[in-house]
Amino acid sequence: MTDSQQFEAFMKSYQNMVFSTAVRLLGNQAEAEDVSQEVFLKAYERYDELKDSPTVGGWLKTVTRNLCLNHLSRYRARWRFFSEMRGENDDESTPEWAAPDTNEQQVAAGDHRQLLEAVLQKLPSAQRVPLVLYHFEDMSYEEIAAKLRVSLSKVKTDIHRAREALRKKLKLKMTGEEAWGGLHGAESPCPT
């Protein structure tokens, strides 16, 4: 097997993980594909070191996260501005999602996941990014605040708004397991 073939196999093993991380942070598939390409080009340059490394997954995830945040930082001033303008009317400005009004219990778990994924991607960047960093990347509120260079209270507020938006858009019932169907299961605990 040539180096190119080896690298292609390597890419196929990790491309979904890299792409998922990028899509969830950026909320845009085309931009996520560009960032994923950039990540794998960096990996290609260092493939000799990476191919036998046990921490390659972590390396890829960190590079993806940093490139996504760099990408977003180009628009940081804009989204911070809009985030702060949005204020209390946040719910009105979150994109509309045609959540099914019919009995959700009958919707398959796969549909719930698609719905959740879609709603997540449609959240405003100011809410989606800290939410993803907290729940997917296992970063604490303090780490997120430092990474995004915003105040701790803003991180907490944005994450809270994001959760509320998800709850409302998905018509999530706080006490009802049934509303989430197959989404529940034993998972790692929250970062804090």
Partner: protein
């Protein structure tokens, strides 16, 4: 929402999000990356990032940069220090004796600029603005030449 509700919502969202499967990457991604990687491999050293240049090239480019910066700071210092045109022109013309015609034009231009500066009465501000513009256009010019020469012809 009280603290308990908030915690409950956090746990619920966390479980739901962590249950999400990975999204499938576009089928074209591998092809795109391999094409870009092979294109990158075909690039000459001078088309790549400065950090990846050979050591000798880095040294030469660094020395050139330092020499240019030194020249600019010397000229700026000379103007700032109020040296007259004659002593400055003598020093520089000796240094650049091989480029007399160019120097004559530059000297005339330089003299004109100095005259304007004296007339304006705020030479420091003017020199600073002029220097910035000069450096800016120098960067644009060098960048354009590099782009046309190094990238377009690759």
């Amino acid at each position: 929402m009280n603290e308990q509700d908030e915690k409950q919502l956090e746990q619920l969202i966390h479980r739901a999000l962590r249950k999400l499967p990975e999204l499938p990457a576009p089928e074209t991604l591998v092809h795109r990356v391999m094409l870009a990687a092979h294109a990158k491999e075909r690039e000459s050293w001078w088309q790549r990032s400065w950090w990846t240049w050979p050591l000798w090239a880095q040294m030469i480019s660094l020395a050139t940069f330092v020499a240019c910066a030194g020249l600019i700071s010397y000229l700026a210092g000379a103007v700032w220090g109020g040296l007259n045109v004659t002593s400055l022109s003598t020093a520089v013309s000796q240094w650049l004796s091989g480029y007399a015609p160019i120097w004559e034009a530059l000297k005339a231009l330089f003299g004109a600029v100095l005259l304007v500066l004296q007339k304006l009465g705020q030479p420091a501000l003017f020199v600073a603005g002029g220097s910035l513009l000069l450096v800016y256009f120098l960067c644009v010019g060098v960048g354009t030449v590099c782009f046309r020469f190094a990238i377009k012809r690759a």
